[in-house]
Amino acid sequence: MTTIKEKAKDLIKVDRRDSKLALAHIYVAFIALFIGGLCGLLQVLVRSGKFTLPWGIGYYQILTIHGVLLGLILTTYFILGFQIAAMSRTSGTFTNKQRLIGWIGFWVMTAGTVAASIMVLLNEASVLYTFYAPLQAHWIFYVGMALVVVGSWITGIAQIMKYVEWRKVNPGQPSPLLSFMVIVNMAMWLICSLGVAVEVVFQLIPWSLGWVDKVDVLLSRTLFWYFGHPLVYFWLLPAYMVWYVIIPKIIGGKIFSDALARLSFMLFLLFSIPVGFHHQLTEPGIDSFWKFLQVILTMMVVIPSLLTAFSMFASFELRGRQLGGKGLYGWFKKLPWKDARFTVPFIGMAAFIPAGAGGIINASYQMNQLIHNTIWVTGHFHLTLATTVVLTFFGAAYWLIPHLTGRVLTKQMNKLAIIQAIIWSVGMTIMSGAMHIVGLMGAPRRSDFSTYGGAQQATEWIPYQVAQAVGGTILFVGIILVLYIVANLLWFAPKGETEFPIGEVSEHAEKTPMWLENWKIWLTICIALILFAYTVPIIDIIQNAPPGSKGYKLW
C-alpha cells in the first residue's frame, strides 16, 4: 500500500542545477563509451588475424585508448554523475558552494582527460592504462592522469560535504542508505587513489620531465596495484548501490536489510585496499609471506559479495511470493522481466557468478600462474566490469537520464533496452568464453596478432581469436544500441516525469544500529589493515631496491 506521503516522496526530483552537473558527467561517460568501444572493436578484429589497422595506427595505441577510456573515464564519470544525483536525491539539493566545487572537479578531470588523450593520439603515450614503468610516456600524459584523479577528489569532497551537512541537521539518525553507500565508495576511492597519485606525482612526472634519471619500477607497480584493486571495487560498489537500493523499489519490493547492506559496504571499505599483491603474485622482489597474507585478505573481500548474493535473491523471492509465486521457483516468474530497469541489471548480476568464481581462482596464490597475464584475465574483467557493472549502469541510465532531463523512457525504448542487454549477453558469452578458454591454453592478453613463429600452440589459439572477434562485433552492435537509447533519452524522448526509485526497508527489519555509521571505528580499522599489509613489504622494497631504471619508449 502506498500512502500519499510515500507517493509524494517518489516524485522527489533532483534539483535542475544538480541535474546539470550529473548530466555533464554522463555525457563524457557515453562519449568515452563510443570511442573506447570502437577501439575495442578494432582490437578484436586485428587479433583475429584477418584485419590490419590503416594509416599506421598502432595496435597498442588503440589498446591504450580502449583501456583508459573504458576502464578509467567511462567508469569514473558515470559513477561520479550517478553519485551526485544520488546525494542530491537522498540528502537534499547541493548548496551553491558544494555544486561549484563539483563543477571545478568536473573541469579539472576533463582537462586531464583531454590532455592525456591528446598525448595518446599523438602516439606519445602507448603505455596502456596501467602505464607500467620503465616504459615512459610523455609527461603531459601523466599530468593528465593526475588531474583526472585530483578532479575526482574535488567532486568527491562536494559529496562528502553534503553528507556531513545532513548528519549535522539530523543528529543521532542513520543517514539515508544510498548517501551512506556513496560516502563509503568515496572514502575508499580517496584512500586508494592516494597510491596512484604518489606514483604519478613523485615518481613518474619528475622522471618523465628528466628531473630524475631513474625510477624504482617495483615500487611504482606496488603503488599502482595498491590503487588498482580498490579501483575495481570503486566500479562495483555503485552497481551494488543500484542492486541494494534501487532494484527493490523497481520490482515493488522492499530492501531486505538496511543493516546488512551497510555492513557489506563497510566490509568492502576494509578489505578492498590491502589486497593489491594478488595482482603481483608472479613478480620478484616481494616476499612470499606478504603475498600470501594479502591473498588471505583478498578472500575476505569475497564475504560481502556472498552477503549481497543472498540479499538479492531474498528480496526477489519475497517480492515474487508476495505476488503469488508458489513452490521453489514460482516467485522467479513473477519478477518484472518486461521492465528494462530490472532485467538489464539482473543480467549483470547473473554475470557476476562466473565472474566471481573466476576472481577467486585468480587470487588463489600459486594458481595465479595458470592465468597470469593470459587473456583469461581480459575475459574475467569483461565479465565483472564490462558486463556486471556496465549493464547495471545501463539499466540505471534508463531511469536516471530521463529523470534528469525531464523525459520518459518509452515502451519502444524499454523493449530496445532489453534487446540490447540480450545482444550484450550473447556477444559477451562468446567473447569472454573464448578468452577464458584460450587463456588457459596460454594465449596472452594485451598482445597484437602473432603466429609466434608458426608455433603449433599459437595456431590452435586462432579459432578462439576469431570467436573473440565475432563476440566483440556483436558487443559493438550493443554499444550502438545503447548510445541510440541514451541519445533518445537525452534529446528526443517525450517530456514527462520519471521516478528516481529509492527502495524502502522492509517494515519487519529491525532498526539499523548506529555503530555501522561510526566512521572513527571503520576508518581506523581500514588504515590499520593497510599499514599491516603494506608497511613491511614497502620498507623492504625501498631498502633493498636495485639500481633504478631509465625510461624507454619502445612503441
Binding site: 600470501f292 543472498f310 613463429g453 624507454y552
Partner: protein, 158 residues
C-alpha cells in the same frame, strides 16, 4: 543484528569454502614449497651481460643441487636469449631469468611457468619437466611494439 537462518547457513558454507581454498593453497605452498615465482636477488639492469650467471645464458647441467638443470635466460626488447631451450624429460629445472630493459613476461604456454621479469630483479622458478613436447615461450607483459614477436621454445625431449 538479526540474520536469517538460511543466510547463516550460506555464510557458513561460503566462508568454509574460502577457508578450504586457502588451506589447500597455503598447505601446498608452505609445506610442499609450491610458491608462485619470486626472487630476492638483485642485479644492475644495465650490466646484466657482465654478471654471472647471465654472462652465459643457456641450459646448464648442474651437480650438487636439488635440481638437475639451470636455465639462465635474459630477456630484452624484443628477444629471449637463448632462443631455444632443450631439457630431458623428467629433469628438475631451475629457471633463472632477468631483463635488461623494460618489464617482460616469461610464460611457457601450457605449463605453470609464468613469471614477471623486472629490471633489477632475478626471477626464479623450479619445476620438473614431466611432459614431453614443444612449449611456446612468449612475453605476456606489454613491452613495446615488438611485444608479440618475442618468443622462445622449451623442448622437453625423451
Amino acid at each position: 543484528m538479526h540474520i536469517h537462518k538460511y543466510e547463516k547457513w550460506w555464510l557458513t558454507f561460503g566462508i568454509s569454502s574460502l577457508v578450504l581454498f586457502l588451506f589447500i593453497v597455503g598447505f601446498s605452498a608452505f609445506h610442499y614449497g609450491s610458491h608462485p615465482p619470486t626472487g630476492k636477488v638483485y642485479i644492475d639492469p644495465e650490466r646484466v651481460d657482465e654478471i654471472a650467471p647471465f654472462n652465459k645464458p643457456g641450459v646448464h647441467k648442474v651437480a650438487g643441487e636439488e635440481w638437475d638443470y639451470e636455465v639462465v635466460l635474459v630477456a630484452s626488447a624484443f628477444f629471449y636469449n637463448p632462443p631455444e631451450i632443450e631439457v630431458p624429460l623428467g629433469s628438475k629445472v631451475k629457471f633463472i631469468a632477468t631483463t635488461k630493459d623494460v618489464v617482460h613476461g616469461f610464460q611457457v604456454a601450457g605449463t605453470n611457468i609464468n613469471m614477471i621479469l623486472e629490471p633489477g630483479y632475478v626471477s626464479e622458478y623450479i619445476t620438473t619437466a614431466d611432459k614431453p613436447g614443444e612449449f611456446l615461450i612468449l612475453c605476456n607483459e606489454y613491452c613495446g611494439i615488438g611485444h608479440s614477436t618475442m618468443t622462445s621454445m622449451l623442448k622437453v625431449v625423451e
